[in-house]
Symmetry: C2
Subunit: 461 residues, 2 copies
């Protein structure tokens, strides 16, 4: 291997996770997993790679651009004639499309109703920003096979309960914003936006959080929406301020959509959904936000999103997608889901110091080494302690005792076990408590028991 | 979205994991993680993607071919002129090279000695076979910063302890085969194989498990090794049968390498290592296999591998790689590691029925729905049970009670909670035990407590 020095940073937009990061991430994921299990969801996992035919055409214009594609190999690559045929597989872009593909092959096992959770990373070549990475973890729950709003109530409640369990339990810690695709359609129709411009108008409206109403107005005009329509939409947006209580908001919206039966039906569904959620973990955090759009092309009914007060980007969300499965099954199978954006949640938990102090699962005892001849004895000693479920580090080199104490202190290890040739001959060890400075001599057989007692005492205080 | 039916199978060589698979995998990973923590290893995680400059030139000829490369995007792709410039990043091929890259950027935080574990999938475009997938989980421990054999003893012990904890505790459940790159070099030199043919000869010798000694002879000849050398190597291979006890094997080997100081030094190191492992979790499973080669190009010292009696491919292994980090740091930092091949281990555990029965974390109680007007009450009821840590499924649709009982039975749910308008008016519920058929009426407030008691009783019997 040549002696050239290689770049040491992770690929742009991706991260190395150090021990403290992994411990915190594991802590949060375990809480989310446990919560999803409390709601009766069962786990699945799907491959990192999917066929491009599975991925393409599901995520809108932006998705096509942000998707990672995997280069063909060997003869297949040689035969590829132009840029479009260089790849036939890509990286997982979300967890919903893979679920739809998997369900199609397992309808008999899982239907009529399947409630699944899935916690895996997804990949999008977005411009990196605070809390936005190109590889990020999603935590999804979905109910497949049900058209009823009870399914929405379950997935929204599961998302909210997970947030509450992570420590976002104050009423004002987050909002659960809900909307309905039919409400959006109703508002756009009522503002006389032509159907073929709905999609492009929604892209503009979706940016309201980031660029404000004025920004949206400009963006709408740039996208070819008439001035009259922009004015009408702007008036709706000011009149339907999102912090308005749910019931008032629904009444106002029903007035605006009085001439639009499909839109009115959307409002009624959101009111029913609010009723189902009233006693659940969402409680008073629910808000009807009639301009919430959500990017994914596959949503067909209610949509919902977590909003943290001090973050413009969402903490997760989801919606109903009753058409997606038919692409794989050839028949209509209703479904809806909720996805937690773990990276942003972790970021807030980090900033607000919401992690417990004792997540470190580092070593509790260090076995020191002073004499090469004693090495087999000390390796055996370490084995005894590990068998007794004590997290034990063996200083993996014979050397200066002071240096080994420093190593223990640096790693937060309180107890150091020491044995030289005298101790080995007598089948003894010395155990030093670096906090009290007290050192005791004890037989090898009793060392594990003694340390277990000390560790329990230390934990109790 | 167009109505065409898409392929529903996972990409070739990759798998969908269903709830039972995920539960078993989680069970095994938690045991491995816990064991690695007992040995004082700390967790890191690295991105799925790495620069091609990080990956290439580390895994030998085969690795270059099996590596997945990610297509450039947008302008960078347009500018790419030929096949070699279509990609500049690739998928993680193992966990060792990413560790080496990460260490270079964190020397001050972690050195002089860093013990890390890492459990993540890696990607290789190998021909799929039984227990061999293109995306597979590796569980690695490595000690960075130490040249001493204590480091090898720790990583080998951690690997063996994890296997033991998973249930491979019989002495004959597996062998831990060890060898040394210097021993291989000594044998090849002694058989007069020219240095520039060592690498190609090792590729042939590495296949002994799969193609037998005769197969290796043919392969050596095809690779340009002289007949005299092939005869010498074959004699060594017959004389050094791998089931020979460690001490006898070492003596024979020392005789053969009497004229080769470097080879002899390798034998001495293996004897020292055996001494350090004598009282550890490997115990009598250790075997000196002088023709164990291991594929990775970066190994420099002792190498080791788990062998299961009924599997030709290995269950994991590792070695010392004292040169790899210098590619990233510019200076020599010794290191060694051990990697468990989780997929093959899971396969054997599956075949031998080594998983506990109670891994299912599915719902314990079903809340049935008979009346749309009661839905908010029942959603609230489900919330009460979940707050009491009872895994609760809400039948997410109003309907026939018999159908809901069948749903409960199919999902192994013993208790069904029922409330119609009468129960709602009286703030009561009925709870039916599907095993005994007994149904009790109880106030809503007491339902969670009652079910907790029932579930504890059911678990105790």
């Amino acid at each position: 291997m040549a002696k050239l020095k290689l770049s040491v940073d992770p690929v742009s937009g991706m991260r190395d996770l150090l021990p403290r990061d992994v411990a915190r991430r594991d802590y949060a994921i375990n809480i989310v997993k446990h919560t999803f299990q409390l709601f009766g969801f069962l786990p699945i996992e799907t491959p990192t790679m999917e066929r491009l035919s599975t991925l393409q055409g599901k995520y809108g214009e932006e998705g096509e651009f942000l998707m990672y594609k995997v280069l063909k190999r060997g003869q297949k690559l040689e035969k590829a004639v132009d840029g479009t045929e260089l790849a036939d597989i890509g990286l997982r872009y979300d967890l919903t499309v893979p679920l739809a593909r998997l369900m199609a092959g397992h309808q008999q096992d899982f239907l009529p109703v399947f409630k699944r959770y899935q916690i895996q990373p997804v990949y999008r070549a977005e411009r990196p920003a605070r809390g936005r990475y190109r590889e990020f973890m999603q935590c999804d729950v979905d109910v497949v096979g049900l058209a009823s709003l009870d399914a929405e109530a379950e997935v929204i409640s599961a998302g909210a309960a997970a947030l509450n369990a992570l420590g976002f339990s104050d009423t004002d810690a987050y909002r659960m914003r809900i909307n309905h695709r039919s409400v959006l359609k109703g508002l756009l129709d009522t503002a006389h936006v032509p159907s073929d411009l709905h999609a492009t108008a929604l892209v503009a409206i979706d940016k309201a959080d980031k660029i404000g109403i004025e920004g949206v107005q400009q963006e709408l005009q740039r996208r070819g929406i008439s001035s009259a329509s922009v004015t009408a939409l702007s008036r709706f947006m000011s009149d339907l301020e999102t912090e308005t209580p749910m019931a008032t908001q629904a009444t106002r919206l029903a007035d605006m959509l009085a001439q639009h039966p499909e839109g009115l039906q959307g409002v009624t569904e959101l009111q029913t959904l609010a009723l189902l959620l009233a006693e659940g973990p969402c409680q008073s955090r629910l808000r009807l936000d009639p301009f919430l759009a959500r990017g994914m092309g596959y949503y067909t009914g209610p949509i919902y999103e977590i909003q943290f007060p001090d973050l413009t980007s969402s903490g997760g969300g989801g919606g109903r997608y009753d058409e997606l499965l038919s692409l794989f099954t050839g028949k209509r199978i209703p479904a809806c889901g909720f996805s937690l954006g773990l990276e942003r949640i972790l970021l807030i938990m980090e900033e607000r110091d919401m992690f417990p102090d004792d997540l470190n699962r580092g070593p509790q005892v260090l076995v020191a080494q002073m004499d090469q001849d004693c090495a087999p004895y000390l390796h055996g000693m370490a084995h005894d302690l590990r068998k007794a479920q004590i997290r034990t580090d063996l200083f993996p080199e014979v050397g200066n005792l002071r240096r080994q104490f420093r190593y223990a202190e640096k790693h937060g290890i309180r107890y150091v076990l020491i044995a030289g040739s005298d101790e080995v001959a007598a089948a003894q060890v010395a155990i030093k408590d670096l906090v009290t400075g007290i050192q005791v001599a004890i037989s090898r057989d009793q060392a594990a028991g003694h340390l277990q007692t000390q560790l329990q005492k230390a934990q109790a205080t």
